[in-house]
Every structure is written in C-alpha cells, then in structure tokens.
Amino acid sequence: MSRTIQNIEPIGAIVLAIIWVSPLVFAFWAAFHSTSDAVNFNLTASWTLDNFRTAWDGAPWIRYFLNTFALVTVILIGQFIVTTLAGFAFAQVRFPGRDLMFILVLMQLFILPEVLIVENYAMVSRLGLFDTILGVGMPYMASAFGIFLMRQAFKGVPIELHEAARVEGCSWFGILWRVYVPLARPTYLAYALVSVSTHWNNFLWPLIVTNSPDTRPLTVGLSIFGAPENGVDISVISAATMMSVAPLLLAFLIFQRQFVQAFLRAGIK
C-alpha cells in the first residue's frame, strides 16, 4: 500500500513532464512528416524534409534571423551601458534626490512598455526610428529591472577595493570599469541570458514598429508566415516554428544549468 503511494508522486511528476513536452515533441515529429501522415498519427510514415524546404522558400528566414540577432545585440549593448552607469550611481554615489530617482526608476517596472504601445509608436516615429532595429530596441534599453540588478551587484562589492583603487589614483570611471564591472561578471551573464531570451521572443512591440522584411524579427516573420490567410498547412508551420526556435532551444539544452542559474539569480536578487 505505502509502495503505491510512494510511486504516485514520481509517476505524477513524469506524466506532467510528458504532458509539458508533448506539444513540442509532436510539432517536431509533424515537421518531418507529410501533413496527411501527421494528422492521421501515422507513426510508421517515412520521414521527410519537404516541409522544411517549403517553409524555407516561403520567407526570408536568414534575414529574419539576422534581424533578431541584431536586435538582441543592440538591446543588450544599450542595456549594459545604461544599467551599469545608473546602477553604479544608485549603489555607490551619494547625491541629493537619489532615493526619489530610484523610486521613479522602480515605477517603470509597472509601466510596461507593452502597455504604452500607442504613444511609444508615436515617439519612435517622431524620432525617425520607425521600421528600424534601433527603434524596436530603444524603449527597452533603460530597463528598470537591469538597473535594480546592477545596483544590487555593485552594492555587494567591498568598499575596501573601491578605496584602494582611489588611493592608487584611479578615476571614478576607472574604478567602475576596473573594479566593479569585472566583479559583477556573473550578474552580467545572468542578465544577458534573461535579456536575450526575452527579446528573442518578443512580439507585440516589434510587430507595431516594423514594417518590412529588412527589420522584421523572427517572431513577427513567423506570425506572418503562419497566418491563416496564407493557407500554409500545419506541417509546414511546424517546420517553420522548429526552425525559428531551434537556436535558442539548442542553446538552452546545452547550457541548461547556466540558463536556470541565470534565471534564478535574476529573479531572486
């Protein structure tokens, strides 16, 4: 009796795990089979790459990949610069109005860029950044979350190191660059992983501010490709979906431990 109870939990855990991966596994399987075999669950059907060929020819995927890649890079560089400077100011520089400013920054955690789409669209157009990668990335660069994270990381740096560098005649910028940034490397890594996976997957804002294949990221490209109006069949959509999630998914499976650690560090601190 107690044996059965003991076994219930592992079985529950495994059943849930199987349910959780099944959409992915099924789409993967369908991507390699013809539509009629896929919808009929013909498990013995032969494997094919036709869906990938059709999907590949249906949209400028390489362009989309490059756009997404450029987008996450631009955002990450911007975020690193902005959040490092602001995080350092909040952690180690004393100036009047600092606490008020910090509250203002934290408020942005709740003024989601997603909610302000209408005015941000107007702003980006006004700045002449409509349909540019910079325009897609800019609203995310001053990330309150990142500033908060960097502040926490910089606060953990022993003040003795700061003093020592100052005695050696290091400038403020020198201290930041030579003492604080290297010591916060794990936080940068964590933040980078979270940022890249967030913006690799972002959809609504890029949908609004991009208007051509030259700037469109993967998610937007995928949604246009799979739109019912295009009449693409489901196996081909699966193939396209697999193609577009493959890089991040593979990276995740390989660096799983670091990935999870990164999310933990980013979420908890």
């Binding site: 939990e9 855990a13 495994i14 849930l16 795990a17 959780w20 991966v21 959409p23 992915l24 099924f26 789409a27 369908a30 669950f41 959040t83 400077l85 602001a86 350092f88 100011a89 520089v93 004393r94 100036f95 203002l104 920054v105 934290l106 408020m107 942005q108 709740f110 003024i111 989601l112 997603e114 909610v115 302000l116 789409i117 209408v118 005015e119 107007a122 702003m123 800019m138 609203p139 001053a142 500033i147 926490q152 606060k155 997957n201 972002n202 959809f203 949908l207 609004i208 998610t219 799979g226 489901i234 699966s238 577009s244 999630v245 998914l249 995740f252 799983q256 999310f263 979420g267 908890i268």
Partner: protein, 297 residues
C-alpha cells in the same frame, strides 16, 4: 576641511546625475512622457478629416464604460487572470517540489518543465494550434479514440478563452517553478531532519514548514503572474484573434486593435490609462506591503 567636504559632495552630486542621465533620458522618452501623453490624448476627441481633435474631458472614458465590448474584454481578462494566476502557481509549486525531490529521471523532468519558457509565445501558439484544430488536432484525435465528438476549441465562444488560458499556463508554470526551486534550496536541511525525528509525514512537513517558508516567493510570483495576465497576449494573434465574438479578447489586444486596426487612438489611450491605474495599484501594494516580507535587501 569643511570646504573640502563640500567640494567633494558637490563632485559626487555631479557624477551621480551624469551617470544617471542616459537612463533618465530614455525612461523619460519611453515611459514617463508617453504615460503623460497617453493621459493627454485620452481627454481629446479623435481627429478626423472634417473635425479637428478637441477637448472632451472624460468622454472617451464614459464611451468605454458604455461599450459592451469593453466590459466583455475586462471580464475576459479577469477570468484570464483568475485562472492563470492560481493554476500556474499551484502547478509551479508541484513542479518545484518534484524537481527538488529524489525522483527518477529528474534531469528530464526539470528540462521538460522549463522548456516552454524559452519558446516565443508565437511559437507556443503554433504548437498548440496543432492540438486545437478541429478534426485534425491532437485533442480531437484523443477524444475520438474514446468516442467524444469533435470540438472546435478555438472556434466556439465557450471554449476559446480557456484554450488561450491553457497555453499561458503551459508557458509560465515552468518559469515560476524556477523561483520556487531557488527558494526550496534555501530551506535548511535540519528542518527536514527535525520533522523526521518528530515523526512528521512528508505531507505535514510540506504543509507546515515548506509552504509557509515559501510564502514570500509565492507573493513575488503572484505579482509577476498578475503583470503577465496583462502582458501575455501574443498567442491571441495566432490562435483566435480575440474571437469568436470577442470571446477570447483581452485588454491589451483590444488596445492594440483599437489603435492600430481601428485607428482610434483616444479610446485606446483611455483604456491604457485604466490599465496603468490598475498596475499602479498593484505596484503600490507590492512596494508597501509585500516588500517588507520579500527577499529584497
């Protein structure tokens, strides 16, 4: 001496503001100014070719309150939040407890739970489309095996919203699991030993010791889940487009539709302000009540 201190203080102030300026410029441009501008445009009428935009006070808001679609969308979003928040938290907790215990195939289990988190919502929607398609979809095929009739999950008002909710839970439960896992690892081993000595069952230990210790994490996750219930709408674009008959339309999708499909910016702005108000209340609760108990130092 005091002169020196004063100069040093002033220098620090200048440095502080210089360091902060890029962040402040960007935040003002893309968060603070747009919030104010949104409010401003919400109290003016829509500009048409014949009539210029004019001040209308809170008319846009009263239009919204008189609009049945608006209420439909608000109720949908309440159901969406009311279902996704508790269900994904409970599942996340179960996942974390399992993934943290000595269980066979733990590596596979953890990976399986977390994988949806790294997928774009759009891709997730495409995967689930396969499950929901009437006649062909996996759900129908499984139902067919036990003799259930074919169901158009996304095409009928009674199920469309729930189909959307399911995808959201699938997407976010694994993410929340991570926070629980982290918290579980900070629970000291001796508490388990002590309760073993006392002869407490695993269930009692979980309920009396683990769950109370996880409370701050739960509150943190709740705030995140609440924000997600406003933000996570990407899959609507693939699965239902808010239909049928607005049955699965959520607030942010309606804002998007109003602004970019119907070109009615003032009403979209009014709705945005209402969302910001709600988020502001959540923020207020978080910073005043919750932060006293959570792990921010």
């Amino acid at each position: 001496m005091s002169r020196f201190v004063q100069i040093e203080r002033r220098r620090q102030a200048i440095y502080g503001w210089i360091l902060l300026s890029p962040a402040l410029v960007l935040l003002s441009t893309f968060a603070f100014y747009p919030s104010v501008a949104t409010f401003w445009s919400s109290i003016f009428s829509r500009q048409t070719r014949r009539r210029p935009s004019e001040y209308v006070g809170f008319e846009n808001y009263s239009d919204l309150f008189a609009d049945p679609t608006f209420w439909k969308v608000v109720i949908n979003n309440l159901i969406y939040a009311g279902a996704t928040i508790p269900i994904s938290i409970v599942i996340a907790l179960a996942m974390a407890l399992w993934a943290n215990s000595k269980i066979p195939a733990r590596g596979f289990i953890r990976t399986a739970y977390f994988t949806p988190t790294v997928l774009p919502m759009i891709a997730a929607a495409n995967l689930w489309l396969f499950f929901y398609t009437p006649g062909l979809g996996v759900l129908d095929q499984i139902g067919g095996l036990v003799g259930l009739p074919s169901v158009n999950w996304l095409g009928q008002p009674s199920t469309a919203l729930w189909a959307v909710i399911m995808v959201t839970i699938w997407k976010e439960a694994g993410f929340f699991m991570i926070f629980y896992l982290a918290a579980l690892q900070t629970i000291p081993e001796d508490l388990k030993e002590a309760s073993d000595i006392e002869g407490a069952s695993r269930w009692t230990y979980t309920r009396r010791i683990v769950l109370p210790l996880l409370m701050p994490t739960t509150l943190f996750i709740m705030v995140n889940a609440l924000i997600n219930s406003v933000k996570l709408i990407d899959h609507l674009f693939i699965l239902t487009k808010g239909g049928p008959n607005d049955a699965s339309k959520l607030i942010l999708y309606y804002i998007w539709e109003m602004a970019f499909a119907f070109f009615d910016a003032p009403h979209a702005a009014a709705m945005t302000i209402l969302v910001l108000l709600v988020l502001g209340i959540v923020a207020g609760i978080k910073f005043t009540i919750l932060d006293k108990r959570t792990h921010y130092q």
